[in-house]
C-alpha cells in the first residue's frame, strides 16, 4: 500500500511513470482475474503501453479473442448501453456523489433542526433563528405532530379494546375527575399562554431541566395516569389534578 496519496495526474517523471505502470498494470490484471473467478463471469482486459509493442492482455490473447467475439455478437445497442470512457465514467460518479451529498445534507438538516426543536421545548429562545430556520422548524414540528397523532390514534384504539377491567377502574376515577379535568384542561389549553408567564412556567422548566431517567412503561400507559408514572411531566401538576 502506498504511504502517500498519489495526485491523479500524468506522471511526468519517466522512471516513476514506468514503475507506476508496472505495478498498477499488475494490480489491474489481478483485479480482473478476481472478478472473473469470484463472480463466475467472462471478462478481458487490453492495455497498450509505450513500453511494449504488443498489448498486455488478460486472460490470454486467445481468451481475449473469445470474449471480444462474444461482445461483438451482441446488438449494437447492447454493446454501447453500459459502455463508458473516462469522461462518461467520471460524470456517472459525479452524479452519484452529488445525489449522496444532497441526501446527506438533507438528513443532517433534519437532525440539526431536531436538536433546535428539543432545545426550544425547554425554553431556549427562537430569536437567533432566521426565516429559513423557522420555516424548517415549523415543518419539522408539523411532521412530529402528525406522527404523534397517528400514534395516539393507534394507542387509543388499542385501549378501547382492552376489556372490562380497564373500564371499571377508569370509571372509578373519572366521575370525580371528569368535571374538574374538563374545565382544567380547557383552562389549561386556553390559559397556557397566560400561565406561561407565571411561576408555572418556571416549574415546568425546572421539571425539564431536571434530567431524570425515562421510566420504562409497561402496557398500561394507555390508561389515564391515575398512577404514578409521570415524574417528568412537561406541565406542572396543576394541570392534572387527579395525579397525586
Amino acid at each position: 500500500m502506498t504511504r502517500k496519496k498519489v495526485k491523479l495526474a500524468y506522471i511526468t517523471n519517466d522512471s516513476a511513470r514506468k514503475a507506476t505502470y508496472k505495478k498498477r498494470k499488475k494490480g489491474l490484471m489481478k483485479k480482473v482475474s478476481e472478478l472473473s473467478t469470484l463472480c463466475g463471469i467472462e471478462a478481458c482486459a487490453i492495455i497498450y503501453s509505450p513500453y511494449e509493442s504488443q498489448p498486455e492482455v488478460w486472460p490470454s490473447p486467445v481468451g481475449v479473442q473469445r470474449v471480444l467475439s462474444e461482445f461483438k455478437k451482441l446488438p449494437e445497442m447492447e454493446q454501447s448501453k453500459k459502455m463508458v470512457n473516462q469522461e462518461s465514467f467520471l460524470r456517472q460518479r459525479i452524479a452519484k456523489a452529488n445525489e449522496q451529498l444532497k441526501k446527506q445534507c438533507k438528513d443532517n438538516r433534519e437532525k440539526e433542526m431536531t436538536q433546535v426543536l428539543f432545545q426550544n421545548l425547554t425554553g431556549k429562545g427562537l430569536h437567533n433563528l432566521n426565516m429559513m430556520d423557522l420555516n424548517d422548524l415549523g415543518w419539522l414540528i408539523e411532521q412530529n405532530l402528525k406522527d404523534i397523532n397517528k400514534r395516539v390514534d393507534t394507542l387509543t384504539k388499542a385501549s378501547h379494546s382492552q376489556g372490562s377491567a380497564a373500564a371499571s377502574s377508569a370509571t372509578m376515577v373519572t366521575p370525580e375527575a371528569k368535571p374538574k379535568r374538563g374545565e382544567k384542561v380547557q383552562a389549561g389549553r386556553s390559559g397556557i399562554e397566560a400561565n406561561m408567564d407565571t411561576m408555572q412556567r418556571q416549574q415546568w422548566i425546572m421539571d425539564l431541566m431536571n434530567p431524570q431517567d425515562h421510566v420504562g412503561f409497561g402496557g398500561n400507559e394507555m390508561m389515564l395516569p391515575f398512577g404514578d408514572n409521570n415524574h417528568n411531566a412537561l406541565w406542572s401538576n396543576a394541570f392534572f389534578p387527579w395525579e397525586k
Binding site: 470512457n85 433546535v116 405532530l145 404523534i148 417528568n232
Partner: protein
C-alpha cells in the same frame, strides 16, 4: 475505513465463485466499479490506452475504454499496435485530458464534502443518543406512552404558535418579502454541480452551534 459491523467489511475472501447469489451480485457491482476506477487511474497516471470488457452474472455487458472501447478493440483486431500521431490527434487528446482533469477535481471535491457531511451526521447521532437517555420527550415517538404523547403534543403546538409568531416578527422587522411557510419540506441546498430547490441559508446561525471545522454547510 471504520468498521461498524463486525460481520461486514474487510474479510479474507476465498478465491472461488461466491456461493450466495445476492452476495455475488453485490460483489460484482462493487468490484466492477472498482476495476473501472483503477483502469481510469492507470490511464490518467501513465497515459496508456485500455479496454476492459466484463459480462455481468445476469448476462449484461459492461465496458470501459480509453480513449474509447471501440477504437481500442479495433486496434487489437487489426493487430496494429501503432497509433496515428497527427497534430490534430494530439490536440484532441490534450483537450480530452484537460477535461478529465477538471472532472477528477470536481469528483474529489464532492467526495470530500460528502465525507464532511457524513461525519457531521454521525456527530448529530451521538448528540441524539445522549439526549434520548436524558430526556423522555426525545425518545422515538413509538416508545412514548399515551400520556407522554399528549403532553408532548401540547408542548409542540405551543412551540408551533411561537414559531409562527416569531416568523411574523421577523417578516415585520426585515425589509425582505419572503413567502413565509412556502412550499413544504426542509430546505434544499445549492450544490456546485447541479441545482434543485432553493438556497439553504449559509447565514443560518444555528449551524454555528455545531462546530465542525467549517462555516455553515458549505
Amino acid at each position: 475505513m471504520m468498521q461498524k459491523n463486525p460481520i461486514q467489511g474487510r474479510q479474507k475472501l476465498a478465491m472461488k465463485k461466491i456461493a450466495k447469489k445476492n452476495n455475488l451480485q453485490v460483489t460484482f457491482s462493487k468490484r466492477r466499479a472498482g476495476l473501472f476506477k483503477k483502469a481510469s487511474e492507470l490511464c490518467t497516471l501513465c497515459g496508456v490506452d485500455v479496454a476492459i470488457i466484463v459480462f455481468s452474472p445476469a448476462g449484461k455487458v459492461f465496458s470501459f475504454g480509453h480513449p474509447q472501447v471501440e477504437s481500442t478493440i479495433d486496434r487489437f483486431f487489426s493487430r496494429n499496435p501503432c497509433l496515428h500521431s497527427s497534430n490534430t490527434h494530439k490536440l484532441v487528446e490534450a483537450h480530452r485530458n484537460a477535461n478529465i482533469q477538471e472532472l477528477n477535481a470536481q469528483l474529489a471535491q464532492l467526495l470530500d464534502m460528502l465525507e464532511v457531511e457524513k461525519r457531521k451526521g454521525e456527530a448529530f447521532e451521538e448528540i441524539r443518543e445522549a439526549g434520548r437517555r436524558k430526556c423522555w420527550w426525545q425518545a422515538p415517538i413509538d416508545e412514548l406512552g399515551l400520556n407522554e404523547l399528549q403532553q408532548l403534543r401540547i408542548a409542540l403546538e405551543e412551540l408551533k404558535r411561537n414559531v409562527t409568531k416569531q416568523g411574523n416578527q421577523v417578516l415585520v422587522d426585515s425589509s425582505h418579502c419572503w413567502p413565509f411557510l412556502a412550499a413544504n419540506g426542509i430546505g434544499g441546498g445549492v450544490f456546485p454541480f447541479g441545482n434543485e430547490g432553493y438556497e439553504m441559508d449559509p447565514a443560518s446561525s444555528i449551524t454555528q452551534m455545531y462546530k465542525f471545522g467549517h462555516q455553515g454547510l458549505f
